[in-house]
């Protein structure tokens, strides 16, 4: 249940309970109050009635005594002057409105009467009269169906000679008067036999309608065996009416207060919970990554404080997020985007397909490593910063600039037309053409730019960037200033891109295998050593030769990882054989990218770790390793030589080595490329080239290895030319370590047999088309 409803309901229920209890108590009290009130009214009515009777009695007594004491009256009594007496009685009765005045002799015989039906000479109620005269109290008598309140006094002269009775009739008028005074219904009734008969009186209001009536019966006297009573009554319904009105009013008030309170409770609850809900929404938005949420709750209470706290928290989170973001997405040195941010920005731009196509450029600074090494890192950093600023300040639409690696920048922009791609590339180059001045010293920067264009919908940022990477790599290799990757989204390219991930997995999950191909001394036929090659035991595509993935690894730089893995395993294997007493000199290929300042130390570490003598290791390098920065390569390789590790120049003749460079290379061996060895058969020019190369190598003090020897005649000719070592299917194809161990065991006893050619790994599908400008 939402907080708002819970708060409101709690208060409502509480109030309802309190009101209910109060109403119950009040209504119960009212009911009993009404009844008590009625009883009280009846009490009061009763006592008023009694007082009325008493006051009547006094009035009657006084009037009767006055009459009886009158000397003339007594004279008339003595004289039995009935006419006079009757008139005197009427006179006395009229003074106080007495309805009945009767004078009797002491034995109860009527002497004279007024207002009564009693006739002279008839017998009056002497017993009642005598008693009344004696106790001077009133009597209620019934005479001819009428009720009288009667008092009796003695007429003395001076001894009692007669009795004078005087009475008021308790008639309708009297009952009405009493009813008016007391507000009660008053009836006078006779009890004869077993039932009461109303003589006079008014019924209480509402009795006729069957309402509840409370009664109080006051028995005034017993007269000749029948009781005379006054019945006071009060309608309970009437009596309850005001209380019921009060109760109803209370109910109304309760209902109104419930409504009001309910509204207020909901209002307050909403006032509490609405800001909470707003805050929750804001917090949701903050969680979703939006930090510009307004968290202002215009309140001075706890919720205001909470909102303020959240506001502060949002600011803190935002600032932390920014710093994390800048760490994650920004290049610390130049302040440009890093690869991740660039990739994301590129994705964004690609998803908006309106406008022209998106072009991506990867810019590689040439020989930057040398600047760092020669002029120091601070200079290098300044140059990078300057370059970054220049690139960033280029005017372009929907664009971004990033620094991807030490000497590599990237940029993308939205072109108005695909044809503008070249112009954009050129403008990038132009921006870098001016020398960068550091400490008043102009430094020339040269760069290559690889371009890729996303022409189709659905281009992926990573693909595009990778394509530009491939283009710049190719441009760099071929010393072009600008290269464009075309057919960006061909399936084969996709496949190749996915290769990188698989390759990574291959290393991690140990899918790579070491194969060994023997190198033979041509003069003796003995095993001179073995070249270490790698194969990929692909889980779905089977065993892959290096040609299927090495060029790709070189293009993407993953080759360094592969080389490290290969060196580690090869050295371990060599050490194992060495320890087993069957030392084999192993040659491991390393690429240009592998040649860095830490190569020697890494090698030394591996040799020590596995326990392989350095003399049993040869590194085969290509000419291209020297192209970028020959001096640096020479320096590093010298260090490697110094460890005692030999160096061999691989695939000689396919590159662009100059003779002067060849002279400076710290190598001990030269491997003639298989294309020359195999072309020797059919082309005499090639043969003489091979022959002179061998001579030249020898003159430089290098051993010569011929690769790709497949037929014995070629081996013979090469031997004839003075080639020292041969390698090829003629002797053995590359085989796994275990097989190699068996093979080399057999080699000790069995003569060399020719092995048929069954594999040529040289042809690699080239998915890259280069355009040179």
């Amino acid at each position: 249940m939402p907080l708002r409803r819970r708060i409101a309901l709690t208060f409502l229920l509480l109030l309802a309970a309190v009101l209910g209890a109060a109403l119950f108590a009040v209504s119960a009290a009212n009911r009993s109050n009404a009844e008590r009130e009625v009883q009280r009214q009846l009490d009061v009515g009763g006592s008023v009635f009694m007082r009325l009777l008493e006051s009547n009695r006094r009035l009657l007594t006084q009037a009767a005594q006055a009459a009886a004491a009158d000397f003339g009256f007594r004279e008339a009594v003595a004289a039995r002057d009935t006419d006079t007496l009757r008139s005197a009685l009427a006179n006395s009765g009229a003074r106080i409105g007495a309805a009945m005045v009767v004078l009797t002799s002491l034995d109860g015989r009527v002497i004279a009467a007024a207002g009564s039906h009693a006739e002279a000479g008839s017998q009056f109620d002497s017993a009642a009269q005598r008693e009344a005269a004696a106790d001077r109290d009133m009597r209620v008598i019934v005479d001819d169906g009428r009720i009288y309140q009667m008092v009796t006094v003695e007429v003395r002269s001076p001894v009692p000679v007669a009795r004078l009775s005087m009475g008021f009739e308790l008639d309708d008028k009297a009952a009405r008067e009493l009813a008016d005074i007391t507000g009660l219904g008053v009836r006078l009734s006779l009890h004869e036999g077993d039932r009461w008969t109303d003589v006079v009186g008014t019924a209480p209001t509402g009795e006729a309608h069957g309402e509840d009536v409370a009664e109080r019966r006051i028995v005034m006297s017993t007269y000749r065996g029948s009781e005379v009573a006054a019945t006071l009554s009060r309608s309970l319904t009437d009596a309850r009416a005001p209380f019921e009105r009060l109760t109803n009013r209370l109910f109304l008030i309760a209902a109104l207060s419930l409504i009001g309170f309910g509204w207020a409770a909901f209002w307050i609850a909403r006032n509490i919970t609405r800001p909470l809900r707003d805050l929750t929404r804001s917090v949701d938005r903050i969680r979703a990554g939006s930090y510009d949420v307004a968290l202002t709750v215009n309140r001075r209470d706890e919720l205001g404080v909470l909102a303020e706290g959240l506001q502060l928290m949002q600011r803190a989170v935002r600032s932390r997020d920014q710093s994390i973001r800048s760490l994650a997405y920004e290049d610390a040195l130049t302040g440009l985007m890093n690869r991740t941010a660039f990739s994301a920005a590129l994705s964004d731009a690609l998803s908006k397909r309106e406008g022209g196509p998106i072009a991506v450029a990867v810019i590689n600074l040439l020989r930057f490593r040398r600047i760092n090494e020669h002029l120091g890192y601070s200079v290098g950093d300044e140059i990078l910063t300057t370059i970054g600023n220049r690139l960033a300040s280029l005017p372009s639409v929907d664009s971004a600039v990033a620094r991807l690696a030490a000497d590599e920048f990237a940029a993308f922009t939205r072109l108005s037309d695909a044809a503008d791609l070249q112009a954009w590339g050129t403008s990038l180059l132009a921006a870098l053409a001016d020398p960068v001045t550091v400490e008043a010293q102009p430094i020339d920067i040269s760069a290559t730019v690889g371009l890729a264009l996303a022409e189709d919908s659905g281009s992926r940022a990573d693909d595009l960037l990778r394509c530009a990477d491939l283009a710049v790599e190719r441009a760099r290799r071929h010393k072009h200033a600008l290269a464009l990757y075309k057919n960006t989204l061909r399936p084969a390219a996709r496949e190749q891109l996915s290769l990188l991930g698989e390759l990574r997995r291959a290393v991690e999950q140990d899918e790579l295998r070491l194969y060994f191909q023997p190198k033979m001394e041509l003069a003796t036929g003995r095993v001179a050593g073995a070249e270490v090659l790698i194969r990929w035991q692909h889980p779905s595509r089977g065993l892959l030769s290096p040609a299927a993935f090495i060029p790709f690894a070189e293009q993407t730089g993953f080759i360094r990882r592969l080389t490290r893995w290969t060196l580690d395993r090869a050295i371990a294997q060599g050490a194992e054989w060495h320890k087993a007493g069957r030392s084999v000199a192993l040659a491991v290929n390393i690429s240009a990218d592998d040649i860095d300042v830490r190569l020697d130390s890494r090698l030394a570490g591996l040799l020590t770790k596995h326990g392989l003598p350095p003399s049993l290791l040869t590194l085969e390098i290509t000419e291209s390793s020297f192209i970028d920065d020959a001096d640096r390569a020479v320096r590093i390789l010298n260090a490697v030589n110094a460890l005692g590790v030999s160096l061999s120049i691989d695939d000689f003749g396919t590159g662009y080595s100059s003779l002067s460079l060849l002279g400076r290379m710290p190598v001990q061996e030269m491997k003639i490329d298989r294309s020359f060895v195999q072309g020797m058969e059919s082309d005499p020019d090639t043969e003489s080239m091979v022959r002179s190369t061998i001579d030249m190598a020898h003159s430089l003090g290098l051993k010569v290895v011929a690769e790709g020897i497949e037929i014995a005649s070629a081996a013979a000719r090469l031997h004839h030319f003075g080639c020292d070592i041969g390698q090829g299917y003629l002797y053995a194809k590359p085989i796994p370590a275990a097989e190699f161990a068996v093979w080399i065991e057999g080699k000790q006893r069995v003569p060399v047999i020719a092995v048929p050619v069954d594999f040529d790994a040289r042809e690699v599908a080239d998915t890259v088309t280069l355009v040179t400008y």
Partner: protein, 208 residues
């Protein structure tokens, strides 16, 4: 409440003493049922053989301290009674009794006229302005009557003969029946017991 006055027999004795000798002493002792002296009781002897001749006699009923003194008097028919007022306030003495109806105007001291009671019976005396003043005067034809003395009896010298004896007290609870009395030569002593109502609301009927 009515107060009973002390017996005073001056009037009666005067009448009796005037009678000649040769009489027999008759003593009637009247007590209440409780044994007390039944004061204010009058005893009347009516001779069966003819009444002695009437003589002029008089009596006084004084008014002292708003009381008739004596409270109960008895006189022979034809007696003239004087109602002197010994109080220093005025009184209006009246009677509405059948035996004699009279009113003495409001007066102080001795009234100018005497009231002659010529008819036997009982007269209730009252004062019109003092309701509590009540006195009784019995009027009889016979000269032989007496009122119970402080000693508790009535002593009369009666000539021998037959008499009807009547007894009356204002507070008699029940009438004492008349008795025939034969008076001989020797003296007689009679003892009577009467029942008196201590707080009567009416006056006992006069015995005829």
């Amino acid at each position: 409440m009515r107060r009973r006055s002390r017996p005073c027999l001056w009037g009666a004795l005067a009448a009796v003493c005037a009678y000649p000798a040769l009489a027999t002493q008759v003593t009637v002792n009247v007590t209440t049922s409780a044994g007390a002296i039944a004061a204010d009781t009058v005893v009347i002897f009516d001779p069966s053989d003819g009444m002695p001749p009437a003589g002029h006699s008089s009596a006084i009923i004084d008014q002292v301290n708003k009381k008739f003194v004596p409270h109960v008097s008895i006189v022979r028919t034809g007696t003239a009674v004087t109602f002197p007022n010994s109080d220093n306030i005025r009184h209006q003495v009246y009677s509405f009794s059948d035996a004699k109806t009279f009113t003495l105007k409001l007066y102080a001291g001795s009234p100018k006229q005497q009231v002659v009671f010529g008819k036997p019976g009982l007269v209730a005396l009252g004062c019109n302005i003092h309701d509590t003043m009540i006195g009784f005067l019995g009027i009889v034809d016979t000269p032989f009557f007496g009122k119970v003395s402080d000693a508790g009896g009535v002593s009369l010298d009666l000539p021998a003969g037959r008499y009807k004896m009547r007894v009356w007290n204002p507070a008699l609870a029940s009438a004492v029946p008349a008795r025939e009395i034969e008076v001989g030569a020797s003296s007689m002593a009679l003892a009577l017991t009467v029942t008196l109502d201590p707080s009567p609301d009416t006056v006992a009927d006069w015995p005829e």
